[in-house]
Amino acid sequence: MNFYDLLIAPFAQFGFMNRALAGAMILSLSAGPVGVFLTLRRMSLTGDAMAHAILPGAAAGFLVSGLAILPMTLGGFAAGLVVAVLSGLVSRFTIQREDSSLAAFYLISLALGVMLVSLKGSNVDLMHVLFGTVLALNNDALIMIGAIVTISLVTLAVLWRPLVAECLDPSFLRSVSRAGHPVHLLFLALVVINLVGGFQALGTLLAVGLMMLPASAARFWVRSLEALCALAVLIAMASSYVGLLISYHLSIASGPAIILVAGAVYFVSMLFGRRGVVTSNLRPVRHRVA
């Protein structure tokens, strides 16, 4: 099998491979920076929590208009936003920290969702219907991802400085500006739309994985924030490409394949990255000498 057959042919031959690659790569553009900020804010498990938290919104959409994708997605957005914003507010104005407030709210939300679903009587697995797969991206899903990424990147560009200040030195920000709270809430909203859009288009595993794994891996290579974001995006894109190829040549489910490639990158980074375990211990510790 030559170079072309191995690396290019699957994408040239099949439209669905193209779309899968396009969808994953486009989402990587915004998942990278958002993931970096989440890891910096110690909110790395938000993705998984959010996957459960959107259930009551989807259930409400289901109760109102049956198994239609759009109402369920919009309901999911709404529920996710409510949970994210509420947990953000609680962590700011009470003694509670962000991780436990998020945990509390997503659990309440999940229970509410399960109850709503059982009210209707039929036992449809809503999440099964709502969460897509990377191999089945239709035009609506691609347009939605495109819109989400555009909004995310523009928002990040506009909010960059207050967001960074808020993450890294909140008391300083509070002393010079009142932008702290709104910026944080806006950031949470960004997280929610990236996640929910990702779930709907690509499935939970892929959406959360593309966000968290590249960002975590990038930490072992670079230090500056801009470099972190750029590297996270690159790792996410590369993982999508290689993962899809593996899924094609070795007949493995595509979502897991992409995430496992990202996981392998993470593992290698952790061990052999510039700031990784092995490399740090190999380099002799430099003392200042007089």
Binding site: P10, Q13, F14, G15, F16, M17, R19, A20, S118, G121, S122, N123, V124, D125, H128, V129, G132, T133, L135, A136, L137, N138, L244, S247, Y248, H249, L250, S251, I252, A253, S254, G255, P256, A257
Partner: protein, 305 residues
């Protein structure tokens, strides 16, 4: 005054009760089996179905109401063959001591169709290489189901045996007639065109019995995720063999089949009912109606309309 009213109401209800009481309470695991039990049992059976229309039995999780219905039932009808993964746990949890009638008893089973994987890849998807449970998709197996259901009802309620046998006979005749109709309908399709793509591998018995080849990106259960290789292979096959019939099923996500349809240019032929009946009025509310609905869609699609 109110006391007299209350007394009158109480007497009234107790007088009314015997007229409406069924002779036995039965629980069926899913809608298709429920329909068969209802046809054979008739008015003598008070039936509760656990997995209703348009719902997925493969991934169903029983609710307290189901456990309650089962604990009060006289007989429990199940498909068997691994279709209801939650079965054993439910029976154990409710402490149900009555008879569990396996409707597929005595049916000639086959294994899930082996896809062309490399050797040593047999742990893909938890139902790969196991018995295909969708036995009701062949009407000849349907006759076996009716026989087993009638026997089960007879055993649980010997007084009604004559009624059950009579109902079973009538129903079996209807099934046999439909079977002949299906065979005749498939005969109108040229042999080379008897190929169909659906969302998951639920039509194995149908394909085997009536000579139609069913292909699917998902495996035998709706729980498995497709790989890019599977989808690519399927698209290649559709293109090279000129498959014209592409269908979505009523309870799985149709987006993957839509993608395949977009890529190959084959239009989706409609919605097939595989593992569950439809709601009344949607066109596939009974076992026989389901078959008629599926045939009405399959045959024109295969012949290229």
């Amino acid at each position: 005054m109110t006391l007299k009213l209350l007394l009158a109401a109480l007497i009234g209800t107790t007088l009314a009760l015997p007229a409406h009481a069924a002779d036995i309470k039965a629980v069926a695991s899913f809608s298709i089996l429920g329909d068969i039990v209802a046809r054979v049992g008739g008015d003598r059976v008070d039936l509760t179905t656990i997995v209703g229309p348009n719902a997925d039995t493969h991934v169903y999780e029983p609710k307290p109401a189901d456990a309650q219905a089962l604990s009060q039932a006289d007989v429990f009808f199940v498909n068997g063959l691994g279709f209801e993964g939650w079965l054993d746990r439910l029976v154990e949890a409710t402490g149900f001591g009555g008879p569990v009638v396996v409707a597929s008893e005595g049916v000639a089973t086959h294994e899930m169709a082996e896809e062309e994987h490399a050797e040593g890849e047999h742990d893909q998807g938890h139902d790969h290489g196991e018995t295909d449970p969708h036995a009701w998709q062949s009407l000849k197996n349907g006759l076996v189901y009716v026989k087993n259901v009638a026997a089960g009802l007879c055993k649980a309620d010997p007084d009604g045996c004559a009624t059950y046998e009579a109902n079973a006979k009538t129903y079996s005749d209807e099934i046999a007639a439909l079977d002949a109709k299906v065979i005749a309908a498939i005969d109108t399709v040229p042999a080379a065109q008897r190929k169909v793509i659906t969302t998951h591998d639920a039509f194995g018995y149908f394909g085997e019995e009536y000579g139609v080849q069913f292909l699917a990106p998902e495996g035998i259960s709706t729980d498995s995720e497709a790989s890019a290789a599977d989808v690519g292979r399927l698209i290649e096959q559709i293109r090279s063999e000129g498959v014209k019939a592409l269908f979505i099923e009523n309870m799985s996500d149709g987006r993957l089949v839509e993608q395949i349809s977009r890529e190959t240019g084959v239009t989706i032929g409609g919605e097939l009912y595989a593992d569950a009946l439809s709601e009344p009025g949607q066109g596939a509310a009974s076992y026989l109606e389901m078959f008629e609905h599926n045939i009405a869609l399959l045959v024109p699609a295969m012949t290229g309309k």
